[in-house]
């Protein structure tokens, strides 16, 4: 929580994936940690909610008990459109609606006011809107890499948002779109997965030149990238983007939530993501919503400490640029 601006801090439990899947921290452990990390909590439906996309009484009670016990605020619920869940074809629109309505219901019943929507929800968002209104749940398209603020796909979403012009449809920028470099740990993981130094160097060159993934991947394949490493390259182009923080100002009226995606901390700052510039835009323009810390770096580290440092950094920048 920052003293000088309305910007409010929380954590997405996605940050604690490494601890969660190794059984170091249970769901309730993680919720207790949120009590000293800003108090706003975001969950990922299929990761944390056993029974997803449907809400069981048991999960509802477990979740709400922790919310009540620690005085937390449910902020955003991560929905998924999962269009590729079938092997032979993509989900059709009826199937997308049938899959997402229970998620919206789960979110509202759990006390969330915001649902993170994926770009793939676009064709059915107007069918979901009556549900959002009835549930008093705002839907926000996440602007996550490879969707940059100026991307074609983002333009399509912005046009729809403007046309519908509802308080129940907005945007959730993910700060991964404001990267300045590919984090070291990701380069190392790509190396470990067997990608050669030459290919890796060329991938970095292509990324630095802001080459779209659809062009970079074919070139790397021509240069010898193996099939089993396609996912490693896709990981890079799917995680780190090239939007300019200044561009955030233009879409800010439609921003309902922020994902503070980060990958590491060094000397109190995030070396690969342009947090100072992003926080400046938010603070100077009076953003008073929540910002969920979303750690997506390597596992096996002191994640709690990293989130704490990242929140301290955001607080510092927010105070520095708050209107006087």
């Amino acid at each position: 929580m920052t003293a000088n601006t309305g910007l409010k801090l929380g954590v997405s439990l996605h940050s604690f994936t490494s601890e969660y899947i190794t059984y170091k921290w249970s769901l309730e452990d993680m919720l207790q940690l949120v009590s000293v990390l800003g108090g706003g909590v975001e969950i990922v439906g299929p990761a944390h909610q056993r029974g997803y996309p449907y809400l069981t009484d048991e999960f509802e009670r477990i979740f709400k008990s922790s919310i009540e016990r620690w005085g937390l605020t449910p902020t955003s619920y991560g929905t998924y459109a999962d269009p590729f869940m079938l092997k032979d074809r993509d989900l059709n629109e009826d199937e997308l609606v049938d899959y997402m309505v229970p998620q919206l219901q789960s979110a509202a019943q759990l006390g969330f006011k915001i649902a993170r929507m994926q770009y793939f929800s676009y064709p059915v968002i107007e069918r979901l809107l009556p549900w959002a209104e009835k549930l008093d749940l705002k839907m926000g398209y996440e602007l996550h890499v490879p969707l940059m603020i100026k991307s074609e796909k983002t333009r399509v979403l912005l046009d729809q948002i403007e046309r519908i012009d509802s308080p129940y449809l907005g945007l959730i920028p993910d700060t991964g779109i404001f990267a300045r470099s590919i984090p070291q740990f990701r380069l190392e993981a790509t190396r470990q997965a067997g990608v050669s130094e030459e290919l890796l160097a060329r991938a970095v060159e292509l990324w630095n030149a802001k080459t779209p993934g659809e062009e970079a991947l074919p070139e790397l394949l021509r240069l010898g990238l193996r099939k089993q490493n396609i996912g490693n390259i896709e990981f890079i182009w799917g995680s780190f983007g090239h939007s300019e923080p200044e561009e955030l100002k233009d879409i800010l009226p439609r921003v309902i939530h922020m994902h503070a995606k980060f990958f590491s901390m060094k000397d109190g700052v995030e070396p690969d993501v342009r947090f100072e510039e992003v926080t400046k835009v938010l603070a100077e323009n009076g953003y008073d919503g929540w910002m969920s810390s979303e750690y997506e770096g390597q596992g096996g580290v002191d994640t709690f400490e990293l989130v704490r440092q990242q929140q301290a950094m955001i607080t510092r920048f927010a105070a520095r640029y708050a209107p006087k």
Binding site: L33, P46, A47, P83, K87, E214, W237, D302
Partner: protein, 156 residues
């Protein structure tokens, strides 16, 4: 990057309950669980059985499991007739792509049964296994992700 020692260092500004949580330890995790291999017979067919985890950060429907590669002591095993047993229900690996309604929750273990003509001898064995999954939502399209795991496992 903070010193690893800070994990268990005293942080008096934090409540005791939070410090206790920070001091927890977890188990190592990969596709292969840290369990013995078992020589078993399932439905009259002899084979080996391994404990496995889903390789993701979230639950997936079984239809997102594209394939499996398995080597024991350097020898490739035929997994065409393998079975995955999840929450007490066994599914043929070949059938998984049709099972979009069966969810593998991320915290739940499963068992992999692979028919084998001869039982594995006592002692330790090098097991190299890869689960191939399709993440159902990657913006750029359908991508297969390879999740390799290697463990030395003993026969029970």
């Amino acid at each position: 990057m903070p010193n690893q020692q800070s994990v268990t260092a005293v942080r008096p500004e934090l409540p005791a309950g939070v410090r206790a949580i920070l001091a927890h330890t977890g188990k190592s995790r990969s596709f292969l669980r840290e369990e013995p291999i078992r020589n078993v017979t399932r439905n009259g067919i002899a084979g080996i059985e391994l404990g496995v985890n889903l390789t993701s950060y979230r639950a997936l429907p079984l239809s997102c499991i594209e394939g499996l590669l398995l080597k024991v002591d350097g020898k490739e095993m035929d997994v065409a007739n393998a079975h995955l047993t999840l929450n007490g229900v066994s599914h043929k690996m070949q059938d998984l792509t049709g099972l979009s309604g069966v969810w593998w929750f991320i915290l739940d273990p499963a068992t992999l049964f692979v028919p084998s003509s001869s039982p594995l001898p006592q002692g330790s064995h090098q097991v190299d296994a890869t689960l191939i999954t399709v993440e159902p939502y990657v913006t750029a399209g359908r991508f297969s992700f390879y999740h390799p795991a290697s463990r030395t496992l003993a026969v029970e």
